[in-house]
Amino acid sequence: MSIAVTAIAGTALTAMAATAADMRLASPMASIPAGDYLPFFQQSPGKGKVGVANAPERMRAFRLDAFPVTNGQYLDFVREHPEWRRSRVKPLFADHQYLAHWRGDLELPDDKAASEPVTNVSWFAAEAYCEARGLRLPLTDQWEYALADQGRSQAEVEQQSLDWFSAPNPQRLSAVGQGKPNAYGVYDLVGLVWEWTLDSSSFMTGTEQRNTSSKDDAAFCGSGSIGVRDAANYPAFMRYAMRSSLKANYTVENVGFRCEGDE
């Protein structure tokens, strides 16, 4: 599924080469060093075996946008890439809510919006943006690894997430970078918008969130509580559930993205 999706996006983007304007899209990136990472979803121990006993995975070093991509940055992108303007985008690549909060193809709601995270963008659009910068969307594991921050301040991150869940969506989003960064220098991973990942729509599951038995592969165990690293980590469940509810052409009011590149 994800391979097919990437292939379609790749086809759509082959004609694009990096241009001078693409350079303007550059934004500060944080260096995420290599390290050990224990995925939230455990691998199946194999047929006939019980329990989970996962060794941590080794993550390579990578760079991650320090901030979610803003409306302002995305405006520069659609100026340079007209096929991603609201009036021209193909329904296959973005549903009818694509950039619905903008006033026009090249017009933001107001000046303030330029520094707010761009939302109502599909996976295809987000990936196209990143590719135009010579980057790509982060893998879910990379995104989660950046959030895990080597275990630093995890209680705080969890609480921030819960507080965010407990408040209705604000009338409008805050500008990016208002909170404090984690130890890698990454801002706004939680508490501002949900974010697309490269393998968002393929990662999950059936949509039955408690199913732990119908597939051997742990990734398909959805968000059932067996086979996860920490069943008490509600915010993690919520992130995976959100990702699994999305299809690649969906655009949602509170889903944005950031890009990832090689170190």
Binding site: S166, A167, N169, G206, T207, N211, S223, F237, A241, T251
Partner: protein
């Protein structure tokens, strides 16, 4: 028609069949021909959609909109509820066995979360959850055949399931038997749920969800129909003497079961766990599992206020699981004399009652009007259940505070009553009482506020009670 049914029923009963004669088998319902189509009538609690008059199966289209909304959990306490239809509990859905139900789950674009729906009335993976995970701004559609009659809970089953349910994502769907339920005069929808706020019970403001309390199954609030006092005072259920009343009761949980009881009523008929095959009779308290239901029928024989509780009583008196059913009409002294004073249910003796201690001291009121305002919330949270919103109390049970001679005669005695409790015979405004008033372990400020509120309502003398007076006259706990 009725006679025929009765005959069939007797024949069936004599064969010791456990399945009722008026229900079809699963196979029959699966085959039942669908004729026509209609939009489901959906209602918010305590209302129930009208009984189904159709004599055939049809396609019922249900549009259920998921909305995340900030609302009132208790006086001065708000919470971000996740709802099926804008309120807790979710919309009541009523279909007939054999119907084809087409569910449209609409996740409002302004919502933050993905949601889905598991209806216990469904035979299929996840009860529909597997077919309905829906991102904000999207709609999922699936359909199911209502094969088994009964009263079923539906709820969100998106991970983390307990959190979605704890935020209010549950409701009831009635799959009515072909021949309908026995006719009654009034039907009501009551659903219990437990809430896990970061602040302790009574702590004011918008309260975030506490994951820790949810996992440890330690709710701060356990309520009927989504908030403390949702169904009391002006919002109480009402019926007339002589009417037959039916309660469709559900327990959304996520964790706490319900010892469902109506004080001063015996359920004539209960369909336990919402199953239609084995009604039982003359039931005092019926157990409702989390994710389960019951139907309770009874006749209003006498007038009065009947208090609906979770008879696991701390839940009723300390966490909010308390509603009221008011019956209006003529007394029947033979059934209930109205003169005995020991019939009212009082769970705890003097001093046994530990009031909810707000974890933060309440802000000091600057003047009398602030004091009255703050006292209103304290009253609603702690006093209103017995003394009533209008201060009139309940005859033979809870003394009136309105124009109360006992109260107005002696402020110091009143402070001692609130802080130390009172037990035994008492005469207020010429009426005698013999009950228990618990000792309230609230901060001086709260007691001063609530007493000032009471003194300035309902024709009382308009005194102000200051925290220093409470401190000076407080009955100390042993």
């Amino acid at each position: 028609m009725k006679t025929v049914i009765k005959g069939v029923f007797i024949a069936a009963a004599s064969l010791s069949l456990t399945f009722p004669a008026w229900s079809s088998s699963r196979e029959e319902n699966a085959r039942a021909e669908i004729v026509g189509s209609e939009e489901a009538i959906l209602t918010d609690a305590p209302a129930v959609p009208p009984a189904i008059k159709r004599d055939h199966a049809t396609k019922v289209v249900v549009h259920l909109e998921v909305k995340e909304v900030e609302g009132r959990l208790a006086d001065g306490v708000s919470y971000t509820f996740w709802t099926f239809g804008g309120k807790v509990p979710g919309k009541f859905i009523r279909v007939r066995e054999g119907d084809l139900v087409e569910m449209h789950l609409e996740n409002h674009p302004a919502n933050k979360m993905p949601h889905n729906i598991d209806l216990h009335a469904v035979n299929g993976p996840g009860g529909g959850a597997a077919a309905s995970l829906t991102a904000p701004g999207h709609t999922s559609v699936f359909s199911f055949k209502a094969l088994n009659p009964g009263l079923y809970v539906y709820h969100c089953a998106t991970a983390p399931v307990a959190m979605h349910v704890a935020n209010g994502m549950y409701g009831l769907i009635l799959v009515e038997p072909k021949e309908g339920l026995p006719k009654v005069d009034r039907e009501f929808y009551v659903m219990q749920g437990d809430f896990y706020t970061k602040g302790a019970n009574g702590e004011k403001g918008l309260q975030p969800f506490s994951m820790e309390k949810a996992i440890n199954e330690r709710p701060e609030y356990i309520v009927f129909n989504g908030s403390v006092g949702s169904t009391t005072g002006d919002q109480a259920l009402t019926a007339n003497v002589g009417e037959a009343v039916r309660l469709f009761v559900g327990d959304g949980g996520p964790n706490v079961t319900s010892s469902f009881h109506v004080i001063g009523q015996i359920f004539d008929t209960v369909w336990a766990e919402g199953n239609m095959s084995t009604p039982t009779h003359n039931v005092q308290t019926t157990m409702i599992p989390a994710g389960g239901s019951a139907i309770a029928d009874f006749k209003m024989s006498v007038p009065g206020t009947f208090i609906i509780v979770d008879h696991s009583l701390s839940r009723a008196f300390n966490r909010g699981a308390l509603a009221q059913l008011k019956s209006i009409g003529a007394e029947d002294k033979l059934i209930y004399s109205g003169k005995t004073s020991d019939e009212v249910y009082l769970p705890e003796g003097t001093g046994a009652r530990v009031a909810e201690q707000p974890s933060k001291a309440p802000p000091a009121a600057k003047d009398k009007s602030e004091r009255i305002k703050a006292g209103e919330a304290v009253f609603a949270n702690n006093c209103q259940a017995c003394h009533q919103a209008n201060g009139e109390g309940v005859a033979n049970a809870f003394p009136p505070l309105a124009k109360s001679d006992y109260l107005n005669a002696d402020k110091v005695r009143a402070i001692k009553t609130v802080t130390g409790g009172l037990e035994g015979k008492l005469t207020v405004n010429g009426a005698s009482f013999n009950g228990v008033m618990p000792a309230w372990e609230l901060p001086d400020e709260d007691i001063a506020n609530v007493m000032t509120y009471i003194y300035n309502k309902w024709g009382n003398t308009g005194l102000e009670v200051r925290p220093s007076e409470v401190q000076a006259n407080r009955v100390k706990k042993n």
